[in-house]
């Protein structure tokens, strides 16, 4: 692979806060009595339900199917009965239709159709199994994996990069997954590489995960496992491509334009289970952590588990939290209702102490340009913030606001505690709306 390059900007001294969970094995969570399986756990269109209130369902049975190309199938995480198909609170938006399932506790599976030699399957067979299993990017974006692995014919994919960076503080779900399921991750990588017609496979992780590195190395064979210096946001797709290959994804393009496909290690694990074992994506590893959690740890969680139940299984709260975040604390969303449930993209549930949760007082910008130094897209965040605040959207676009990856480094580092990303996101949304309307 040659030398490892760095990506632009970034922050290397955020308190990782991973030590409270990274050393403990994954606990298998007992499914709750009632599961709320959202129809939107992926990028794109909501899935269409194929079951109705009162139907009996088996574990792994298709309960909602992809609606169009950018969408994903959804399967029942348990066996039991459909109680309702109705709007329920969602971790990232207002209410979204969900299939509410009563768990009968019997774990009756649908027929699974395992494959004895999965790597011998054809490219199309693998892609089909990935599509049918409802696999989406598990790092957070939730882009349907079968679509990602099927880039335009003319694109040449030199590298499949498996993303094990997990650069968000607190999260250790991918770390534990790589340690405990290293063989599944490697098998998944091979299957993804075959499906995407990728040249070389590179598994990239940060040097704060030595145990995962050794675990993968032991079973990787000819696959390259690279250790990168720990630095947020290395796990961002474009930044990881830059760090590993020195290439940049051209603005407005997808990673295949740089000859790369990036998949999360969790996605690879899900692909291995789907193709080899015939099991759809109905559970995932979730980090439950934060200062107010009594027993922080990683769980293997059935999709559809309400946050409240999950938090109780981690011993509940030592003290009332100020914020509960789904995802990591840099890019995740603060929840207002713990009835929301775990979806395919939920990597963590972090409960921060109240003292850490209040929005700090804002001072004027002193143009120290620390935000410029840390911006991994090489933008001038202080300018973009001002343009967003003053609704100068043409200027914002000229200064590259649409290239922002929303990592939050600018707001994190600002000594005047300005909500830079907030105004940048505002400008991005307004510009996107203007562009939609002008079409």
């Amino acid at each position: 692979m040659g030398r490892i390059r760095a990506f632009f900007g970034g922050i290397d001294d955020i308190d990782s806060a991973k030590q409270s969970t990274a050393g403990k094995p994954i606990s298998v969570l007992t499914a709750p009595e009632t599961l709320v399986v959202s129809l939107l756990q992926h990028a794109g269109a909501e899935a269409k339900p194929v079951v109705a209130k009162g139907d009996e369902v088996l574990k792994g049975q298709l309960i909602a199917e992809a609606d169009g190309v950018i969408s994903a199938n959804i399967h029942s995480p348990v066996s039991g009965k459909v109680l309702a198909v109705e709007p329920r609170v969602h971790p990232n938006r207002a209410a979204v239709t969900a299939i509410v399932i009563e768990n009968d506790g019997e774990e009756r599976w649908v027929e699974k159709n395992p494959v004895t030699d999965p790597v011998q399957l054809s490219r199309e067979e693998i892609l089909n199994k990935i599509r049918e299993a409802g696999i989406v990017g598990m790092g957070g974006a939730g882009f349907p994996t079968a679509v990602k692995l099927n880039p335009p014919k003319e694109a040449r994919i030199d590298y499949l990069i498996l993303n094990g960076c997990e650069c968000e503080p607190y999260l250790s779900a991918d770390d534990r997954l790589m340690i405990e399921y290293a063989e599944d991750v490697i098998l998944g990588a091979k299957l993804i590489a075959k499906a995407a017609n990728a040249g070389a496979i590179i598994i990239a992780l940060e040097d704060n995960k030595p145990e995962a590195y050794e675990a993968l190395k032991a079973v990787a064979g000819a696959i390259d496992v690279v250790k990168l210096p720990t630095r947020y946001p290395q796990g961002a797709e474009k930044q990881l491509i830059q760090a590993v290959t020195g290439r940049e994804v051209p603005t407005g393009s997808l990673p295949f334009a740089a000859g790369c496909i990036v998949n999360n290690v969790g996605t690879a694990w899900a692909v291995a289970k789907a193709v080899r074992d015939g099991e759809p994506l109905i559970s995932r590893v979730v980090t439950v952590s934060g200062e107010t959690i009594r027993e922080p740890q990683n769980f293997l969680v059935p999709i559809g588990t309400p946050l409240e139940y999950l938090l109780e299984q981690a011993g509940g709260f030592v003290e009332a939290p100020g914020k509960v975040i789904v995802g990591g604390p840099m890019m995740g969303g603060a929840q207002f209702d713990l009835q929301a449930s775990v979806g395919k993209t939920v990597s963590g549930v972090i409960a921060l102490a109240e003292a850490e949760s209040h929005t700090p007082n804002v001072l004027p910008c002193i143009r120290c340009a620390r935000c410029v130094d840390v911006c991994p897209a090489n933008l001038l965040p202080l300018r973009l913030e001002a343009y967003g605040m003053n609704e100068m959207f043409d200027h914002a676009r000229d200064y590259g606001v649409m290239d922002c990856i929303e990592c939050g480094c600018c707001t994190y580092i600002c000594p005047s505690k300005r909500p830079l990303l907030h105004y940048i996101q505002y400008a991005k949304r307004e510009i996107a709306a203007i562009e939609r309307n002008s079409k």
Binding site: R247, E248, A257, I366, R367, P376, A377, Y412
Partner: protein, 306 residues
Amino acid sequence: MEDMKLIVAPSPHLRDRDTTEKIMFAVLLSLVPAIAASIYFFRWDAVRLILLAAGAAVATEAIFQRVRKKPIMVGDGSALLTGVLLALTVPPSLPSWMVILGAVVAIAIGKQVFGGLGQNPFNPALVGRAFLTASFASAMTAWTVPFDAVTAATPLALGAARSDIPALFFGNVAGSLGETSALAILIGGIYLFYRGVLDYRITVGTLGTVTVFALLAGQDPIFHLLAGSVLFGAVFMATDPVTSPITPLGRWIFGVGIGVIIMVIRLWGGYPEGVTFAILFMNAVTPLLNRWTRPRIYGHGVKANE
């Protein structure tokens, strides 16, 4: 869990511990060696000028904010810092009312008329100093030697051949209050660098340019670095974040530009020293530098894989 009141806010949910107030007080802390040196060399004059300038600056800031019906923010330390910086750049014999006037001008004209902290195009302390230099030229150039307050020429007026380099380094020479001791300034600068407040590009750009320029002109670079206000300006004045560029390349050009102007004024100008005007001029150019030196955005100017 039903009654739990959860705080909802946009990401990121973590913040760095450093704050603008802490940065201001870090700069004040970094000035302690220079303040101590000024008191050691110039005794009560130093105490008098520093206290008066600091008090006048803070009072002016508070009055302005009161009149503009804005929150009184003198606790952020920025006005205090401006006052102290101004005091350290004036001659020890300056009359009290003049330094007070300089501090009022620094805050009122240099900062508040533009909208306060973060809005001013020019370094406020240097606006105050430039005002005093233009208005009271003789008082602002009435230099005295340390300890006994006898009038004397500054090393820059004397020239390299007649100056004592160790004295310049330790500060036992005639000059502005806080600018004579290179040692004290260096201690403060090194602290600021390690504290992550000082942008080395500006300081290195200025000092490097002065060195190269002096060598090319056949003069002693050590003398040019240690004499006058170069070191104080490059460490404490040029690096003011508000009035210096925000881009990495812009900061290099800014630092080099200051060095060039200083040397042009020193070698061919009508004044013996040009640090104040060099920095103020480059402050004026800063918006242009920001526009001309925008960094290449990730993914721009790269071709798709073929």
